[in-house]
């Protein structure tokens, strides 16, 4: 090894301090980088439509009381509930779920109501239906349709569509 100034093996230029010494120690390890951002959460699709309007309905006519138009393809669990006000004795009402105006299998319920006027007040009946609906595609329309034999009122209604990962209809 030679002096880096005079290139002599034995330094003669009084700059011996410039002679190359052994390599310095390795520096400390750098600090750890900060943690990356969290990824976005997964998606669970739930559609809920609630209608609290009171609408008068007339005998023997089908009425769509609430509907859902699919925007995402997939399997869904449909949950419907409502209150119906009965104002006339001997009222019988059927309600059903349809997909593009076609009855969904087993998606039909009914109720009948006895004297109401004789008791001096209207009766309010709770209606409920849960149905699995496989293979919806965007644009499919799910409707809840009522038909009664006498005049009645549909009151609060709620339609929930829960998109499922796996729907098993037994």
């Amino acid at each position: 090894m030679s002096c880096t100034t005079c290139y002599s093996h034995i330094c003669t230029c009084d700059n011996e301090k410039l002679c190359v010494g052994p390599k310095g120690e390795r520096g400390d390890r750098g600090d750890q980088g900060v943690v990356g951002q969290d990824g976005s959460i997964g998606v669970r699709t739930v559609y809920i439509d609630t209608d609290v309007s009171e609408v008068e309905r007339f005998p023997s006519i089908d009425y769509n009381v609430i509907s859902y138009t699919a925007t995402e393809p997939g399997d869904y669990l449909m949950m419907f509930e409502s209150d119906t006000k009965i104002i006339i004795d001997q009222t019988s009402i059927t309600y059903k779920a349809t997909k593009n105006n076609v009855l969904i299998p087993n998606a039909i319920r009914a109720f009948r109501c006895d004297a109401v006027e004789s008791l001096g007040q209207n009766k309010i009946k709770k209606n409920k239906m849960n149905v699995g609906i496989p293979s919806l595609v965007a644009g499919d329309i799910i409707s809840i349709v009522y038909n009664g034999n006498k005049r009645y009122f549909t009151e609060s209604k709620s339609l929930t569509m829960l998109k499922t990962t796996q729907l098993t209809v037994l």
């Binding site: 301090k17 980088g33 976005s40 997964g42 019988s92 109720f111 109501c113 849960n130 499922t164 037994l170």
Partner: protein, 174 residues
């Protein structure tokens, strides 16, 4: 600076002055880690059994629960159980009790009651009403049997019933 060996300047001992280099600088801070990956879609498996058949209940003395619908669990997990159906009353003042059961044991707080009272000529029309209940979120294992049970002091018909099990990832009870 004098030679470390001969202590002269310039050196005369043929031993090169050796000056150790300085300690290297600290390394740079590491870069920010990458963003986490997007979570998967929420997993919600649904098993639904809709029974369109009528179930005719014959009262016992004293009334005991009879099972109308059942479902055997195939996947371990947390479930929310929903039930709804229609009841056709046979006699006025009939008290109907119903509940969800797990392996023949009633699920806490799932028991409900229904009673229809009618008067006069309205008896001509047999009432039909909706009944429904649900469980809290339950931890179930494969092989567990979920049942719907009814009991009453009178005849009635349970029709158009739906039993739904929703498998959920997270257990939140509030």
């Amino acid at each position: 600076m004098n030679c470390n060996n001969c202590h002269k300047n310039p050196c005369c001992c043929e031993k090169l002055i050796s000056i150790r280099g300085k300690r290297g600088p600290k390394g740079d801070k590491g870069v920010v880690g990458p963003q986490g990956i997007t979570g998967k879609d929420g997993v919600t498996n649904v098993f639904i059994f809709t029974n369109p058949d009528n179930y005719s209940y014959t009262p016992d003395e004293p009334p005991v629960y009879e099972y109308t619908d059942s479902f055997t669990v195939t996947d371990n997990g947390n479930y929310l159980i929903l039930f709804e159906g229609c009841i056709v009353y046979d006699l006025t003042q009939t008290l109907i009790e119903y509940a969800l059961f797990k392996n023949s044991v009633m699920i806490t707080d799932s028991d409900r009651k229904s009673r229809e009272v009618w008067v006069g000529e309205s008896e001509i029309l047999t009432p039909i009403v909706t009944v429904s209940t649900n469980s809290g979120i339950l931890s179930l294992v494969a092989g567990d049997i979920i049942q719907v049970g009814f009991k009453s002091d009178n005849f009635f018909v349970a029709s158009k019933r739906s039993l739904t099990l929703i498998q959920v990832n997270n257990l939140t009870i509030s």
